[in-house]
């Protein structure tokens, strides 16, 4: 089963990290990611730019409306995601706990993936 791990965190807190703190978190996360990759359980991983760089297309009207900023104003913002190949929820939760230990604060939403298309494009 594929699971999406959606990473929510308070953006202003993450943006207030010093470069050293940010680097330290990324290094710890990389250790977990490398192991998951070796085990063949790691799909695409993305860290998103701040929500201030986001644009939203509202389709509830015609023509759709383009708005600056993220879709919803929330206390914690979607800052990145992982796609993971796991046997079951328990395993996905285990990985989430491990990643959480490397990156304190915030929440992970674990969502089973219904359809996955690897379009092949790479940044």
């Amino acid at each position: 089963m594929f699971y999406a791990l959606l990473c929510y965190h308070q953006e202003d807190v993450v943006c207030a990290w010093t470069k050293e703190e940010d680097d330290a978190v990324m290094r710890k996360l990389a250790v977990v990611q490398e192991r998951l990759a070796r085990e063949g359980r790691l799909g695409p991983v993305a860290r998103l730019l701040p929500t201030t760089a986001a644009t939203t297309l509202r389709k509830d009207q015609d023509p759709p409306l383009v708005l600056d900023g993220p879709f919803a104003e929330t206390k914690e913002q979607l800052l990145g995601f992982y796609l993971l190949d796991c046997e079951n929820l328990e395993e996905a939760l285990g990985i989430a706990r491990e990643l959480g230990a490397a990156n304190p604060g915030g929440s992970y939403e674990i969502r089973p993936v219904g359809l996955f298309v690897d379009g092949g494009a790479r940044p």
Binding site: Q10, D12, V13, C15, A16, W17, E21, A24, V25, L49, P50, T51, T52, A53, T55, V66, L67, D68, G69, E73, K75, P104, G105
Partner: protein, 413 residues
């Protein structure tokens, strides 16, 4: 990151919002700061046991307000408010203030907090120091280090600035649209001043001053979250990100300036460039150009060029031409001359530079560029004179060192 560190970061991140709300409530900067301090102390005491609240800024504003009111009431021998431990962080009272923090009030609160630091009576250095102290919450020691002055001198500077704005009449009614736009413009200019204070530092002091650039970017992101559809705020954030992305490549090991065309572009910060380009892209959709967007567009052309030779100088010349119309200044014309030199050679550029002599006689970069153009034209004696004048006007060792390499080149040639 351990827990204490995490709480520290959270408190720092929540500061502008919480302090701004407290300022609206108390209408007194000292009292608001005191209340915020008190709330932070309580947070350090209770968060490790109770866990951090969902909305730290709302919690701090609420607790800060109650603590200060409590003090006032105790003096008046009235009943105490319940201790904040008894207040659930999802309780109605907090929900109410949280809602207010989310609303339009809160946006104007933060803008007001920034705006009072921009009082026109204050010299720019005091505006910057005040914003760093009040809004960003940097310690006097940190600010003093960034300005290369003693802590005592900075303390005095901030106290004086505070006394001045204390006497000033800050309007607490929500501003109208025109007034809001004006405030936003003034605040954006102040944020860019904070950035330049860090960015214009020489190589040997750049490390101490880099936090100013980071702080300015943080303030711009804060403004963007409050005013997400303002193209000039996007432009300002983009400009600072694109410039700061080069920080790692701007100075050599001895602290001498490395000009843009000699920088190792592999050292440029790619995520920062990506964010800057994305913001500029968003801004341009609004078709409401302004000076920050134009300057960001120029920085973007440098950022997009894989190597110095790939730079689109024709587009850069056009953009400086646009900037000359928006914000006429001999310094902008001087910058356009750099693009002209790349496009049409030193003679055409010199024709543009020479008439600026009256206005820019005391400007280091004028003499530096003029000297370089004369050198390219083989007018060695005049070039040397130009470089000597430039060295006399250099404000940093890095600038002087850079000109000296030109002079050395002349003697060898």
């Amino acid at each position: 990151m351990d827990e204490a560190r995490w709480i520290g970061t959270t408190l720092a991140a929540a500061r502008p919002q919480a302090l701004a709300a407290l300022l609206r409530y108390f209408r007194d900067l000292d009292l608001a700061e005191e209340a915020f301090q008190e709330a932070c102390l309580r947070a350090l005491r209770t968060w490790p046991q109770n866990g951090p609240p969902r909305d730290a800024a709302a919690w701090l504003a609420f607790v800060g307000r109650n603590v200060a009111l409590d003090t006032v009431r105790r003096r008046a021998k009235q009943t105490e408010l319940p201790p904040e431990e008894a207040l659930s962080d999802t309780g109605d009272a907090e929900a109410e203030i949280a809602e207010r923090l989310d609303g339009a009030d809160y946006r104007d609160d933060v803008l007001r907090l920034l705006f009072i630091c921009c009082h026109p009576d204050l010299p720019t250095t005091q505006q910057i120091a005040l914003a760093l102290r009040i809004v960003s919450g940097l310690s006097v020691r940190q600010i003093a280090r960034a300005f290369l002055v003693t802590e005592a001198a900075m303390e005095q500077r901030i106290t004086r600035a505070k006394a001045r704005i204390g006497k000033a009449d800050v309007p607490f009614e929500p501003p109208g649209p025109v007034e809001r736009a004006e405030r936003l413009g003034v605040v954006a200019a102040m944020v860019y001043l904070v950035f330049n204070e860090g960015y214009s530092a020489a190589g040997d002091t750049s490390a101490a001053r880099e936090p100013l650039c980071e702080e300015a970017i943080r303030l711009a992101r804060l403004l963007l979250r409050l005013f997400p559809a303002e193209p000039e705020v996007m432009g300002l954030a983009a400009l600072m990100l694109l410039q700061h992305a080069r920080a790692g490549a701007r100075f050599d090991a001895d602290g001498a300036t490395i000009l843009l065309d000699r920088q190792d572009r592999a050292l440029w910060n790619r995520p920062m460039i990506a964010e800057g380009l994305a913001l500029l892209d968003k801004a341009m959709r609004h078709r409401r150009p302004g000076p920050y967007q134009v300057q960001a567009a120029i920085a973007a052309l440098h950022a997009r060029a894989p190597a110095a030779e790939d730079t689109d100088w024709a587009q850069i010349e056009l953009l400086y031409g646009t900037l000359e119309i928006m914000q006429p200044s001999p310094v902008v014309t001087l910058n356009r001359a750099v693009a002209v030199a790349k496009l049409r050679g030193p003679e055409a550029a010199l024709a543009l530079v020479e008439p600026l002599g009256d206005k820019l006689a005391g400007y280091f970069h004028y003499h530096g560029l003029r000297g370089a153009l004369l050198m390219q034209l083989g007018r060695t004696r005049e070039a040397r004179e130009g470089f000597m004048t430039a060295i006399g006007l250099a404000t940093t060792a890095a600038e002087a060192a850079h000109i000296r390499t030109h002079l050395d080149g002349l003697s060898q040639g």
